[in-house]
């Protein structure tokens, strides 16, 4: 079974990612057995059907798509995956933060696609908590990428106060 990093550990995981092949459309694509992460257009086109078919729901957003499209569904989804088509495409960081901070998504946010060790620290700070590492990489070694820095300047999902507020507390303590 494939393995992912989840909550800082390597675990087995059986979620499949559905992608549309050439010629397939959201309306007609065959829905595989769950658990499956569906492309956003498929979810939007067939919400009712999917909800009755699957026990747990998961959708993946491509980097040009936005969390706005899932605003009404947030509480129904177990997993929202964010695709990084290339590791240099940074849109997924904003998408993840918005899912957590603006839409208060409580489920799993999973990074999929070109997911590499040296981006994990940023991903985690933005609220991503599961990482489907690119298959050719050593997933055990990649764990080190989560804990590169012991302190950070900015507020983000993992740290509600920027360093300047915490420095002040330390100084006055």
């Amino acid at each position: 079974m494939p393995r992912i990093i989840k909550h800082d550990r390597v675990v087995e995981d059986d979620w499949q990612v559905l992608t549309l092949a050439a010629g397939e459309t959201p309306a007609t694509v065959t829905l595989p057995a769950d658990p499956v992460l569906l492309p956003l257009p498929v979810w939007l086109a067939r919400r009712t059907e999917i909800s009755s078919l699957y026990r747990t729901l998961g959708v993946w957003l491509d980097s040009h798509e936005g969390p706005e499209a899932l605003a009404d569904d947030i509480d129904r989804l177990s997993i929202i995956a964010v695709n990084f088509p290339k590791f240099t495409d940074g849109r997924g960081y904003s998408i993840a933060r918005l899912l957590r901070e603006r839409y208060h998504f409580q489920g799993e946010i999973r990074a999929i696609g070109d997911v590499l060790q040296d981006q994990l620290f940023f991903m985690r700070r933005c609220g991503i908590d599961a990482y489907a590492l690119r298959a050719d990489k050593d997933i055990e070694k990649a764990l080190a990428g989560l804990s590169v820095f012991s302190e950070t300047y900015q507020a983000a999902v993992d740290q509600s106060e920027p360093l300047f507020l915490r420095r002040r507390t330390e100084a006055s303590a």
Partner: protein
């Protein structure tokens, strides 16, 4: 200047360890060339024409003498005993060994320095006025705000992989010396009627292939909201900036496409969700940062030093230097001094290890142990007593740091160009050298007066040629080096993008062309006019006509297509 606390130091130490591990994994075959590239760039490491180049961050141009000594030592041990100051106030080493770069970063960390985000598609080094804190026309010190931005932008988790690089500059003086409207975001510190400190915010400026001046997006942003407002701008850019074409990926293209009004509306909408959140900066933090930039313990001195005045009368060479290289200071009896890195025969902005040590000693003896790098690629001692100027001059002269040419034709901004840079279309340093040789007579230079001449070896415009009175751009045509000339650009409050005068020239023609342009100015000027004033009064045509008159027609140069893309916004 800002001093690290334990946390700042720990973050930088961890960065060195991370980078060392990345280089190790690359050498072990675990990290491919393509995977390493963005990582090494965010640590300032380029792979250039002859090998690696390391760009070291000098946040907003501030250096201590101890840091400069360390740079001298690094340049000796790991490079060819020379450094190059850039228009982002950084220092480049052109000959380091790839495998030794982690050691260089560790050396830098030992003096609270780094190479974080000096390249890559992220927020780059913040720049500001090199006279910050001492300029008479400044109303508040911009450096605490620069440091706040340095910390905010350092490893910002959301904005490490933007569509393209992102540059921010801050000005707090009546005269903008930081070219803020040539930046992705330009911040102009202002006060409002209630006495609050805040910013006029410009967005979407930039040089490069499509030079555009930044547009005003907000008339007044209270300072406590600075970070949340920038988060809003960067988030829109990160999500909607173009990623399909690197030449159209800067924020200026997004701002142009949406129009400044619509872009501003979207920023306000995003910001309305972020403002007053945890990233709101309290006054106590501004006070903490401000404390790091408190004025040094200057003496109470008379405004005019009698001995200095006498030396000015008696020593014309010294007086010439003072005229060009000594600048007013807000404290009576003090002055700011520019040490020129534009001596004949030296690449503009280059400084040797021996010169670095000399400058460090000058700073320690005469300027409270601190110095600045200007975006014009010179070094500034900001706090020199008038009575010490003569001694500073004597020492600087011994080290070839006292060429009296600041603001004159030979004070050229110039990128490293095709001799070193892999991006360059043409060489720029030999062009600068040829011009310098032609205009080496100081009396003639002083007679020509204030003028800016900038050279870039390619469209990336590191040499800021668009905002020079005379701009020279290297272009490549059929593997030959050609040079396009623009005139009428300027920095400052009236920042303007220059206009291309016509077909490109080849290298040997450039000194004569510059001489022709200067000739037109000298013939037409009124006694009070600078080059730019005469040009604005009589227009571009007489200059154009003279530049092409009697030109060798055997080699007809085609107008480069890229000339059409120059947008004067």
């Amino acid at each position: 200047m800002y001093r690290y606390d334990n946390t700042d130091q720990q973050i930088i130490n961890e960065r060195v360890a991370q980078y060392r591990d990345q280089i190790g994994r690359h050498l072990a075959g675990e990290l491919s060339v393509d995977e390493l590239r963005p990582l090494r760039l965010q640590n300032g490491l380029y792979i250039q024409r002859h090998g690696p180049m390391l760009r070291i961050a000098i946040p907003y141009g501030m250096l201590s003498a101890a840091q400069l000594r360390k740079l001298a030592e690094i340049s000796r041990r790991y490079d060819r005993a020379v450094g190059h100051f850039t228009t982002r106030q950084n220092m480049q080493l052109n000959w380091p060994q790839f495998e030794e770069t982690p050691d260089i970063l560790a050396e830098l960390a030992s003096v609270q320095m780094h190479a974080v985000q000096t390249s890559g598609n992220c927020v780059r080094n913040i720049t500001t006025d090199h006279f910050a804190g001492v300029a008479p026309d400044e109303w508040t010190d911009p450096r605490p705000y620069c440091e706040l931005l340095r910390q905010w932008s350092t490893f910002h988790p959301e904005f490490a992989f933007l569509p393209r690089k992102f540059k921010i500059a801050v000005n707090a003086a009546a005269e903008d010396r930081a070219v803020i409207r040539a930046h992705d975001i330009g911040l102009d510190l202002v006060g409002n009627e209630q006495g609050e400190i805040g910013f006029r915010v410009f967005v979407g400026g930039g040089l490069g292939r499509t030079p555009i001046l930044g547009k005003l997006i907000r008339e007044f942003l209270p300072r406590r909201h600075l970070l949340s407002y920038l988060d809003a701008i960067l988030r829109l850019y990160n999500r909607y900036g173009r990623r399909d074409n690197m030449y159209k990926a800067r924020i200026k293209i997004l701002v142009q496409a949406l129009g400044i009004d619509e872009f501003g509306r979207q920023v306000e909408a995003e910001w309305s969700q972020l403002r007053d959140g945890p990233t709101t900066v309290p006054d106590v933090e501004f006070a903490r940062l401000g404390g790091h930039f408190a004025p040094p313990p200057r003496a109470t001195l008379p405004a005019e030093d009698a001995a200095h005045a006498a030396r000015l009368r008696n020593d014309p060479a010294f007086a010439n230097w003072v005229k060009r290289c000594v600048h007013p200071h807000k404290t009576p009896g003090y002055a700011a001094v520019t040490l020129s890195l534009k001596a004949l025969g030296v690449a503009p902005g280059d400084i040797s290890d021996v010169q670095m040590i000399a400058v460090a000693e000058l700073a320690e003896r005469f300027s409270f142990g601190e110095l600045r790098v200007s975006h014009e690629q010179n070094v500034v001692l900001a706090d020199v007593r008038q009575s010490d100027l003569h001694e500073v001059w004597l020492i600087a002269r011994r080290h070839r740091l006292a060429t009296a040419n600041i603001g004159l034709l030979t004070d050229m901004i110039c990128c490293p160009g095709g001799d070193l840079c892999a991006l360059a279309n043409a060489r720029s340093v030999p062009i600068a050298a040829a011009i310098h040789e032609k205009f080496d007579d100081l009396d003639y230079l002083h007679d020509i007066g204030d003028i800016s001449l900038n050279i870039s070896g390619c469209m990336n415009s590191c040499g800021h040629h668009h905002v020079a009175n005379i701009g020279i751009l290297g272009v490549d045509k059929n593997d030959e080096e050609w040079y396009q000339i623009s005139i009428g650009g300027q920095q400052g409050n009236a920042a303007t993008i220059g206009k291309v005068i016509g077909p490109s020239f080849y290298a040997q023609e450039i000194p004569q062309v510059i001489e022709a342009l200067i000739g037109v100015y000298l013939e037409h000027r009124t006694p009070s006019e600078r080059f730019i004033d005469t040009l604005q009064r009589i227009g571009i045509e007489p200059f154009k006509a003279r530049a092409y008159a009697g030109r060798d027609r055997r080699r007809t140069a085609k107008v480069d297509n890229r000339e059409e893309e120059v947008i004067n916004a």
